[in-house]
Symmetry: D2
Subunit: 337 residues, 4 copies
Amino acid sequence: MIIVMKAGATQKQIEAVEKQLQQLGFRTHPIYGEVKTVIGAIGDKRLVKANSIVHMEGVESIVPIMSPYKLVSRELINEDTIIDVDGVSIGGNELVVMAGPCAVESEKQLMEVAVKVKEAGAQILRGGAYKPRTSPYSFQGLEEEGLKLLASVGKETGLKIVTEVVDTRDVELVSQYADILQIGARSMQNFRLLSECGKAAKPVLLKRGLSATIEEWLMAAEYILSEGNPNVILCERGIRTFETATRNTLDINAIPVVKELSHLPIIVDPSHATGNWRWVEAVAKAAIAAGADGLMIEVHPDPSSASSDGPQSLKPEKFADLMKVLKPVAQAVNRTI
Amino acid sequence: MIIVMKAGATQKQIEAVEKQLQQLGFRTHPIYGEVKTVIGAIGDKRLVKANSIVHMEGVESIVPIMSPYKLVSRELINEDTIIDVDGVSIGGNELVVMAGPCAVESEKQLMEVAVKVKEAGAQILRGGAYKPRTSPYSFQGLEEEGLKLLASVGKETGLKIVTEVVDTRDVELVSQYADILQIGARSMQNFRLLSECGKAAKPVLLKRGLSATIEEWLMAAEYILSEGNPNVILCERGIRTFETATRNTLDINAIPVVKELSHLPIIVDPSHATGNWRWVEAVAKAAIAAGADGLMIEVHPDPSSASSDGPQSLKPEKFADLMKVLKPVAQAVNRTI
Amino acid sequence: MIIVMKAGATQKQIEAVEKQLQQLGFRTHPIYGEVKTVIGAIGDKRLVKANSIVHMEGVESIVPIMSPYKLVSRELINEDTIIDVDGVSIGGNELVVMAGPCAVESEKQLMEVAVKVKEAGAQILRGGAYKPRTSPYSFQGLEEEGLKLLASVGKETGLKIVTEVVDTRDVELVSQYADILQIGARSMQNFRLLSECGKAAKPVLLKRGLSATIEEWLMAAEYILSEGNPNVILCERGIRTFETATRNTLDINAIPVVKELSHLPIIVDPSHATGNWRWVEAVAKAAIAAGADGLMIEVHPDPSSASSDGPQSLKPEKFADLMKVLKPVAQAVNRTI
Amino acid sequence: MIIVMKAGATQKQIEAVEKQLQQLGFRTHPIYGEVKTVIGAIGDKRLVKANSIVHMEGVESIVPIMSPYKLVSRELINEDTIIDVDGVSIGGNELVVMAGPCAVESEKQLMEVAVKVKEAGAQILRGGAYKPRTSPYSFQGLEEEGLKLLASVGKETGLKIVTEVVDTRDVELVSQYADILQIGARSMQNFRLLSECGKAAKPVLLKRGLSATIEEWLMAAEYILSEGNPNVILCERGIRTFETATRNTLDINAIPVVKELSHLPIIVDPSHATGNWRWVEAVAKAAIAAGADGLMIEVHPDPSSASSDGPQSLKPEKFADLMKVLKPVAQAVNRTI
């Protein structure tokens, strides 16, 4: 940590800051520049509350040198984490594909999609039983009924199940039915939910918040790991920008950046990232080429009747076509799909 | 609602869309342009799921004509809502000032601040008992112990209490101690929490999400009102932009825009909006001049030892000075403080 | 064009708007909704100044139905434009690669890079003779001397030359030396420069502005085409967002969106989009997989001594490695490189 | 300047960086942390090209300690700059108000507005002779004819003239007619134009770019000052964000931030910042309350017929009303208007 003192800070102020740092357990090291003095604070004390320094007289700013997360970083664990979901590996050489409808609507709808996405090569079935909707007047999901449908269709088809949990009170219930707990973009900084999922026995799919920096996203993952659950899959699903032609802006840069900073697997959701099924193929290819460990894609048997996110859902035939064109892209970057 | 058909859409496609609209209960009205056809769908059916249309063949896009919220809008209620918090009015001619520490740390700290902010003219005491923190290693709040301190200090000083609730499981408990339930920026789209607060008997302070549009913010308020709680106070606290000189960017435009669209009161939090106590005064003045109904300001007896948000907290003396310079600004816009 | 009238607009106001629209040459078509009236204005009059309507009494907003650009759109020309740069095709099946240093520094530096990028498979040499720099104290480029070096190195190696023009006064001079005129991100809305380049006899590489929407970008291209120059190559180079881990955020979605809206070729600059040479490879692969027509990449023989943009420049060896791993990705999407 | 070395950087790498820094004229000072080493580089060498360091082996990042601008900063000049425009002071106790149409359309239009804004209290007449328009098909301004009208109306009414210059080739011509040269938001990083205006004998009004950070904006001002022209007036006019309810987001925080960092005067343009005349009043009041040195406001005798920016223009009567309600706000912050 580096403390930058203001131009004109007095020797007394500098010493007071040094003393405070020493009390927090740091060794200090001032450098007297021509205009400003900076103080190096030595010691890896990420867990120490150092913001007391910011308010001291003469202090201009603090520059952290260490990243604020630890368990998710490559500093501690450099080997890629591979998560085993009851036989399906995430983060290994084979790419994972999660597909299914935005919301679970009926057994018929779910089974129809499940059979087709399995046939096309998906290993995991997605589908929302609890839907976080912008409007209170929109369909909010089938809730436990939806969970039961997911579990039964999963059993019948052999697909693993990923579904969103939106409330701390539901974590236990959802854990009984799902193979992977999804934390949605709007819940990425629901810290209580992160903690509860950190105590759950199931892997967690953590979507990036609409306006979360990569650092904040990794900090959210750190919450889960710090509670004892090491199985976090990151999911880039587009961030909010000024562009209005697309629903979100997929941050493709995030893939190599996360791969460099963290050992956790990262997948991409091109459906939410674009908001339009016509652009899903191009972006799915890009994600794999950039090094993503898999994809999460919305597929609906009849998008025009979907209760949620119809415009960005692929029909099952289009999804099957997509899987075919992804194969050579995966091979081109030495992965299988 | 206007449905824009693609250039080259066939008559058959146009008719299919009309038919579907009619089944949803709309009257339809096509306009044949030189290049494109648009279809007017008549009927105020905000509650009708119309996204089925987007996916139909030949459809380019849908243009909503009505805003998606109703209860919070001026269409229904044009008179300004004035909320009575046990004798303190919010939204009336007198401005409301909520002040106090970011986090409740001890009885001594809280009482010291409370006495001083009351003396300076604040009517409501703020203080976090549950803190949503970016890092799992940061202070998370005193929880129920903090709520008890707030209630007892409130009682002793006569200040009303506003405090944040971060978990659906805590709404009932927090309601027992607080006069106003705060929903923080990171929880603005925690729809389950919105619903629970909508069922609570206490007014709700709803902070704008970091990357929420004004429309999404009003939709979040609609969640609360639609559950039966009409007492929502909006709080603009800065949005996330590319600018890094400040913690957030206060969207001052939001004040006249919200005043035009909604009857709900709106206050401003200049502490979070700037992230730096030195800029709080200028921005607090601006908020009042723009028509805000009040302010929420962080005050700490010793910001350098604050467990959270020290850099943006005012010392009690500075807060007292601020209240003095706000008086003439309030008068200039025909308000009192 | 659809004119949305306010709730409560009078019949007189509606008629006044209709009359005004008719005077502008539109046919009008009102639809009386339950709450609001909308007026359809029929006629493709993109060139007509219709903003006079916005201010009329009773008008709430205007919804354009047609895109504001014409020459760059697929409405007029649906076939992909292929630009011939003296034997090098841009926009065809073979991908184009432009590589070279950010700034031209010396003949030695330029020749060394040129020979190596040619060997690795690049067809076009990039290099700045005029540098738009954030600081007045940074290196501003070798100017005409740089242009001469570019031309002579281009001649010797057989590489075509692309270089930026930053001032209307230089368009003629740069046209004498360069094969492609580059308009940089910061000049994307320098409309006078766009017009001058529209009159030039050379193709134009138009970078997307840091905060330009896709629509504004296409409008900038429309400026060039409207002056008579049909040869515009679009270049996505990252937009400005809240994320600070990378220099910019590459908008990978923009590739399929632009391909759908326009017939112009589009390439990607992963060097500026990431700001870090370590992430260039992943993003370059993604760009090709998403359907880009080529790449522009910064290569410097000794990035640590580069006068500009060192951190994002590849060494020639790394560039050669990159070209090798791009080959299978190009093949996977049925392109050659 | 602080150089942060990677975890695991070798002693040899550290020494190489030190040596390179010393050759650039810095004294160096390494601090060996538990995980990482940082090197303090002492010496105020803002003009030195230090990016050569970033690419050296073992280097993780560089943290600048000094701001990159100098002439515009309070480090050098702490007293507020007051600019005298032929008798009108900008930056002093009296606020300056610039008002007039977006574009000069005719002598009649301009004279009508000029007489009325003068009567209401404006000191400076604004009006565009050269218009930077997003579409090539929009009205581009009357050019020299417009300049002549501005000068003659200015002479007749006693108002000073501010008008935009969009092309380096026009700086001399515009300087002959205008009292203040305006650099528009889209030209803020047209560095050649900044330099030309830096050589002109007239004060410069420098609008903030749509996506420019405060630091970049001050760097743009530094360009002008570094050419010898000390008379720069900054103008905040809203930045681009995700919010779509308003044309831009006024960054009100920027006022206290700029006042702290720079001695230059700063004014606010509420017309562009909101894009809607109905919100201009609230935002104009906020700007003054926050400490702005003046306002720039669009006024048009008949906004519905304006050739540009009609929706955000006030009618002269509304402008006169605005001036009245601004008076008490100005007094409340000890300024006059």
